[in-house]
Subunit: 237 residues, 2 copies
């Protein structure tokens, strides 16, 4: 059977430097800044002419950390508690026969410098370093089907987590915001409100500790019921 | 630079057996029946479990008749009259650095026979024989952005063509509908209402003749102003 070979046209630079914590769909965490760096020769302003008129774009990318030699016909999506199996083609799981991802994201800006361009995006669910295969304009008349039936994922993930920062984390976050990462607190709040815990740990009554990496930072928090307390931010070792 | 190799998981069987006449986005011609035949080992019922609950799916495919060794940074979309150039990443043109296509289509049915499955779809804009790379469920909460700004393509293509069949074409169409292609007349009407003429021939005042292939049939019509008259249907030589 004929196979097709694709070269990336660019790469994603994202705050999500590890898989744990990445929102489970695009658009859920709008505070997440993403830069799509186009590779030469695709980084020319002409290739992006008239793209500014679109508020959103599709990014087609490779799930580069989900590439496997074997594929499985079923997956257990976190949305269903991680127990129920569904078909891989009924899921947006990264583990699929061709590990191709699809996300609609906000196009915030196009920056061109000396004839080399990059896109500033919002709301992405991309791992840092994600290879990009294509960018397409989002066409509401063809792509927006608000009346479509969404099967087991008809509604956005339910989310009632309350996120607070303790005193130490508040001070640390303020320092990192000023030094390097403006908007860091909103980003952490949005990411944790979406409750990135693995499904099997949701619903447990005991106090649980978690950590995730954002940029080059280790973010620590504890969960108690529906309350999340951020306890520390430190530079990743 | 690392490249990625993808094998098709299936193939499209469509009424569009040549490029001329294919609607310029998915969803515009709902009368177009499409079968997505999954290749083994992807044709197993497990891989499609729970997909029936979704009304629409994304099909990610290869523009197999638009593969070129070279790419151009700009294209001239029919929507802008075929004269104005825009960036290739601001377009849905098949001629792009990686010739990957993306269409949201209605999932009409899943048919499994002896453990081998295929999808019945509606509203596709696929050429017959299109290689399919992935199928994903359409998630309204993440994918439907009805308030997105659609740039130069904010509205569906304007379309005021009136389609009539002359006496000969009416009789021929009725015979083909009965023999092999139920719904053929609606299909031809919808395809021609979308006015598949190349942009440079739209707006001309003289009577113009056209032909396109649907299935294995040659469909002939003449255009006069905003009126299209279907004049003949015959088996393609």
């Amino acid at each position: 059977m004929h196979s097709f070979d694709f070269q990336p046209i660019g790469i994603i630079h994202s705050c999500y430097t590890e898989k744990f914590g990445i929102p489970r769909q695009s658009g859920l965490v709008t505070a997440a800044p993403v830069t799509l760096e186009l590779y030469a020769p695709y980084d020319r302003p002409e290739a992006l002419m008239e793209l500014r008129g679109f508020s959103h774009v599709w990014v087609i990318f490779v799930f580069h950390q989900a590439m496997r030699d074997e594929w499985k016909p079923t997956v257990r999506p976190p949305r269903l508690g991680g127990n129920q199996r569904i078909g891989v083609f009924a899921s947006r799981s990264p583990f699929r026969p061709n590990p191709i991802g699809l996300s609609a994201v906000m196009l915030e800006d196009i920056q061109c410098d000396n004839g080399h361009c990059q896109l500033r995006l919002r709301g992405g669910d991309f791992l840092d370093g994600t290879p990009v295969l294509d960018i397409k304009p989002y066409l509401p008349y063809a792509d927006a089907l608000p009346d479509a039936c969404g099967g087991f994922a008809a509604q956005p993930p339910h989310n009632e987590m309350t996120v607070v920062f303790n005193e130490l984390a508040t001070a640390q976050c303020a320092r990192w915001e000023q030094a390097q990462y403006p908007g860091l607190r909103s980003l952490i709040e949005q990411v944790l409100q979406a409750d990135p815990r693995p499904a099997y740990r949701v619903g447990r009554k005991d106090k649980q500790s978690f950590g995730m990496r954002l940029y080059d930072l280790d973010v620590k928090w504890v969960v108690c019921g529906s309350r999340i307390e951020v306890t520390a931010l430190s530079l990743k070792a």
